[in-house]
Symmetry: C2
Subunit: 296 residues, 2 copies
């Protein structure tokens, strides 16, 4: 079996690994995500060393966005309009492809994580599911008919608009673009700004979590009405608060008001709304899945 390379480029750190899957991650390094030149240089150096002993079939790159994931676009492989200093309009995938002379797969970190969960984790065997990460921001990836959803570009699910009950929650929202979109109401920074303390320091029975579950459930039912996914995988720092899962499951059922009486949603909700299986390795494993896809 050939070896694959995976790169997860995050806002602060970049993870590189080679392997074939979760039981076989041969080597992993973490480097800071500094300037594009320096970061790409260290990524290339890592894989060149690997290539010296064993050939790689392809490299997958799971990157922070916005980015251009469309293979037919002239800017395929670019980080596009990111506010991260120095990274706007960076040809990340192209640079790695040229330096290593290998096929590259390229998509958002969250699409890659969805692909990894499909291949080895909580979405195995499902052709239609949604992966959401709820942390510093809220992002999502979806699979429909066995393929990751791409339209004009990759999805940006965090910015959907939901009802905001001002009486119950006078917090105006934290999104610089939209104020009280889902990300503006329910991301980690929103929770912290609303309650005046870091989310992970709030007690498990704090009313913050009921409100958080309300907003997440509103986001999920919108996704249900649009995609009717077979499963939701909810990851990210906020979802480390395991008490959220039963709260979100119950509110999703209540908010549907009997409209979509699917046993999957109403009777087996602990299998319908689940945490990721791959944990902190989802990104780099997703990148390896992207590499495998790149040579399909």
């Amino acid at each position: 079996m050939p070896l694959w390379g995976g790169v997860e480029t995050g806002g602060t750190k970049t993870v590189c690994a080679v392997g074939t899957g979760p039981d076989d991650l041969l080597d992993t390094i973490r480097i800071p995500t500094s300037t594009p030149d320096e970061t790409i240089g260290r990524i290339v150096q890592f894989f060149r060393q690997k290539q010296a002993t064993e050939p790689l079939a392809a490299v997958g790159i799971a990157a922070f966005g916005p980015l251009d994931p469309n293979p037919d676009s002239p800017t395929f492989g670019y980080i596009t309009t990111t506010p991260k200093p120095g990274w706007a309009n960076t040809d990340l995938a192209g640079a790695i492809r040229r330096e290593l002379d290998l096929p590259v797969g390229f998509d958002t970190d969250v699409n890659a994580a969805a692909l990894g969960e499909h291949q080895w984790g909580a979405a195995q065997g499902l052709g239609n599911f949604v992966y959401l990460t709820i942390g510093t921001g809220i992002g999502g990836g979806a699979m429909v008919g066995g393929e990751l959803v791409h339209g004009l570009s990759h999805p940006e699910m965090g910015h959907i608009r939901i009802p905001h009950e001002w009486g119950r929650d006078p917090f105006a929202g934290f999104c610089t673009y939209h104020g009280d979109c889902l990300e503006g109401l329910a991301s980690g920074p929103a929770v912290e700004a609303r309650w005046g303390q870091k989310a992970d320091t709030l007690p498990k029975d704090h009313p913050a979590w009921l409100l958080e579950a309300e907003y997440l459930a509103l986001g999920l039912i919108n996704l249900i009405f649009i995609l009717l996914p077979e499963r939701f995988i909810l990851g990210g720092g906020i979802m480390q608060q395991a008490q959220l899962f039963p709260l979100v499951r119950r509110r999703v059922q209540e908010l549907l008001h009997g409209y979509l009486p699917f046993p999957t949603i109403l009777e087996r909700s602990d299998e319908y709304i689940v945490p990721p299986d791959l944990g902190s390795r989802a990104g780099v494993l997703g990148a390896i899945a992207l590499a495998q896809q790149a040579t399909r």
Copy 2:
């Protein structure tokens, strides 16, 4: 070229036709949608007469929902939980398939209309788009990667939740399930109940249309954040009010607040949010497209 049959089963009338596409609809009949037995009997009778002179390759059925469009399900082809008297749990597609001994395609009227627009209308050449009908209800179909979206079942886009500005619009909403979901705020009956007169009798400069455009734009940006479609096709009775199109286009751009700076959305919005091409024939032509798909 073989001939195909198409059936559009609406809440009050059923349309049957044979042909190969919009330039070649050989024969069309309209019958009332009465009881299932009587309606299916007349559908079968129509196609038997056609078969007597020229063989049909397949029949496509575009039906009101909810229905089961999953070919692997034991209730594939059934109208499922409809409130329409007598029609719940009706094996519509199975009955037609057995009586005519032909392959059948089966999906919602709105998914079929999307497929028809893809094949012959406003979505030709696009693999990712959304078709919405805004009328007595609000329904939607989507294509992703060249295939109609199905998850656990067909999409029900009308019931997504959006912000409701109570100060500007104290109308509580008209949806029996969810009150002020998109359908509850923006369908034809909602407009009529809010303003006390039928939507098509409101003057074109009535504030009703600005409010309607606001709600539709909120629905569209949620679909943009989730699917990033290459185009929206908006049909249905309400969208006969052509003044809505520029209002919706502008509000979509404004509500994005520069977050997704795609020229397709910002500079060519008159090609991004468009009316259907197939008009009132969309349903039955979509059914013929379903028939063609059934024998692929």
